[in-house]
Amino acid sequence: MPKLKVNDIEVEIDEGLTVLQACEKAGVEIPRFCYHEKLSIAGNCRMCLVEMEKSPKPIASCAMPAAEGMNIKTNTPFVEKARKGVMEFLLANHPLDCPVCDQGGECDLQDQSMFYGVDKSRFKENKRAVPEKYMGPLIKTQMTRCIHCTRCVRFATEIAGVSEIGAIGRGEDMQITTYLEEAMQSELSANVIDLCPVGALTSKPYVFEARPWELKKTETVDVMDAVGSNVRVDTYDWEVKRVLPLINEDINEEWISDKTRYACDGLLNQRLDTPYVKYNGKFEKASWDEVFKIIKSKFENASKDKVCGFVGDLTNMETGYIFKEFFDRTLNNSNYESRSDNRFIDNSERENYIFNSSINGIEESDLIFLIGANPRYEATILNARIRKAYVNNKTKVISLNDVGDLTYPYENLDGQTQSIKTIFEGSNEISKDIISAKKPMIVIGETFLKINSAKHLFNLIKTFLKKNNKFTDNWNPLNILSCDAATVGNFDLGILNNEINLLEELKSNKFEIIYLVGQDNLEFNKKNEFVIYQGSHGDKGAEIADIILPGSAYTEQDGFFTNLEGKIQKAYKASYPPGEAKEDWHIINELAEVMNNRKLFNDKDELESSMFNYIKLQQETKNLNHKEISSTNFQNEKLNIQLKDYYFSNVIARSSKTMIECNNSKINLKSTGTEG
């Protein structure tokens, strides 16, 4: 391990690091624009110049490999002069329009020019002006501000896997643009806004909305998909102004998908802000007391087993748990379900419904087999990880179906379930690949779990992997790719019913009362059922409801979510529910009080500790009660991956104007056919 000196501090570093990284290790800050840990090294901004002993010129520390015995100085007048010179050149063509720039207050150029720059310019000539570029509905450009660090170009090519941004022209005429100014075709496109060290690429939906210092920042988790990306929610009063990524190396690194970032304007539209009761087909405002009384009388008049409840895709675990308790303890019935389709879940073991190899594990894997999954749209951040694995290790990826561009090459099979059967009966080339792979990953999508022979094939896959010793102490090859934030949490809480098929009974109109908590995806023809809908948005669920209980969205209440890997994370309250709306657990607790004159839980803490005890107990009993599953029949069918419209996958996204624009921009591109 090479040793070197930085400002006379001796540091020992790993082989292959750069001088800049060595300086960071020594606790010395180096200004930079083009260098970014997650991207390749470009070395074109020259801001990171440092003095190296025996070098007549300053060196670009980001691009210089650190070597034994170097003596680096960063605090000499020589370095200061070099940095001032670089900064003066960078500012020569920069418009200095900070007062009207959205990046103001969180701009690297602004901050660093305060530290390292000079207070006046010697550049008397005309500054260059660059026309604005169109980069899609999310990215606003002001290319005159661009300092050509090429971070956005490298992000698009390396991380997002869509080589659509580039630098055209040369010298003063150089411009950053997408190919022919088309929208960037990536679900990660808006990350270039965070990467841009100046105000050249800013957020279009957030334009002139607020200054960074006016916003209240809350660190929380995202619920747009099951990955559970860590995000920071910025609020101005009640309004959620924007969502930014937080670094979590185990989950989202430092990227988030466009949906995570921009569906937040859906929190302002279509909100349910007061209880409603339907009289003669029309909704009328009501008070909480009134609606609770109506619900109580309805429950009392209905027979016990004619009541059922469904939990939705964005519901936090506290709500799910108290909902279950409400059914178990108050209504004495277990007709509750969190699935909105007939998918097969064997919840006798936890590994049957989580992503066991973990997101970090993707990078260690040497073979990824996708069955009925399209990770690009089902879990965008996870797909970026698979791409990373492909770029770094050339990981082999096989998909049962041809699912279009996944941003990395993959081998696709015929999409027949017969192929799955052949492979996992061990009589195929791919079976041999799986057997010879050290750390294979079988990624099973929700589409697969919905097919008729899901149970048969699932068990076949598991037995095959067990037989070939793919389950080891530090590797579990079985991965279920859930799509929704609440899915795994609900299964952990046991909100599913494998004895009775509630969905079939619902479709044949066997119930009298249906209680929906944030569940908008049920397909059934309503007849004489009395539907109670509790949720945040006026969507499909509220439309068919007879009573609406206004709940809160994920940014408006503290709540736990379990991501697809089974990691429990807490989402924190950043804003508060609108109007008369209340936190979801609170509504159910109060309803229970009205029904039985006794609250289910005294406070949130009691609810939480009870929930965690329950989960712990479940895990322990699950491990004890493992039973062999009887095999079922196989039938061949074609697996059709049916995706929910990517930009409209949940109520918040459906209410978001930005998501509509994103969707339209993709449709436009398809219809013009310019991509060919």
Binding site: S163, G169, T178
Partner: protein
């Protein structure tokens, strides 16, 4: 500068004709498997030759597909180099050298001739759309200054009248004789040589 940005009116289709394709394949085969992208500059030049001295966007796409690389990468290369023309320049593409040696020997007269005979401004097509001209930096024929280049040929030792003659010929569709217009052979001294008299073939 306008030649470095793609033209507004673009042809819908572009494909290498058989001779261009043969040439392109030969160049691609110079590079090892997986490194075909290195051929991009040569291929752009072939496309430019085939398409009356300019490269349409369709040609860039065609090359990108041929070399299996993203469109933007080809586009970056094409916009970077000044010898790729991205707007129509005419079948006869006249480049007048106006760097110091030619300038001293009267390159501005050649420019005047261009303005009179071809078009008012640089990079503007002549009235019959067959010809355009531009000023360029040194073309490396300073000994025979002033000079200009039409497509692949150099026309040297010019003055205004001779230039006009040349232009009249090309506008008629003829190809004038390239080389010196004062009767010199290549770059030999003008009134017989004065040095190295004793060496026969110097």
């Amino acid at each position: 500068m306008s030649l470095r940005r793609p033209a507004k009116n673009q042809p819908k289709k572009f494909e290498f004709n058989s001779s261009s394709m043969d040439e392109a394949k030969k160049i691609i085969s110079n590079y090892p498997e997986g490194k075909q992208q290195s051929a991009v500059m040569a291929l752009l030049y072939i496309a430019q030759k085939q398409n009356d001295n300019w490269i349409p966007l369709a040609a860039m796409k065609h090359i990108a597909k041929l070399l299996d690389m993203p469109y933007i990468k080809v586009y970056e290369v094409a916009t970077f180099y000044s010898m790729y023309n991205l707007s129509p320049v005419g079948k006869y593409f006249v480049q007048v050298c106006t760097t110091t040696p030619c300038m001293i020997r009267g390159a501005n007269k050649l420019v005047e001739a261009c303005k009179e005979k071809i078009s008012e401004d640089e990079n503007m097509l002549s009235s019959d759309k067959s010809c355009s001209w531009m000023e360029v930096e040194c073309l490396g024929a300073c000994v025979n200054a002033p000079m200009l280049q039409i497509n692949d040929d150099y026309y040297e030792d010019l003055d205004k009248e001779k230039t006009i003659e040349i232009f009249e010929k090309i506008l008629k569709g003829e190809t004038p004789k390239p080389g010196s217009y004062r009767g010199r052979l290549n770059t030999e001294p003008e009134n017989n040589r004065k040095t190295l008299m004793d060496v026969k073939n110097a």
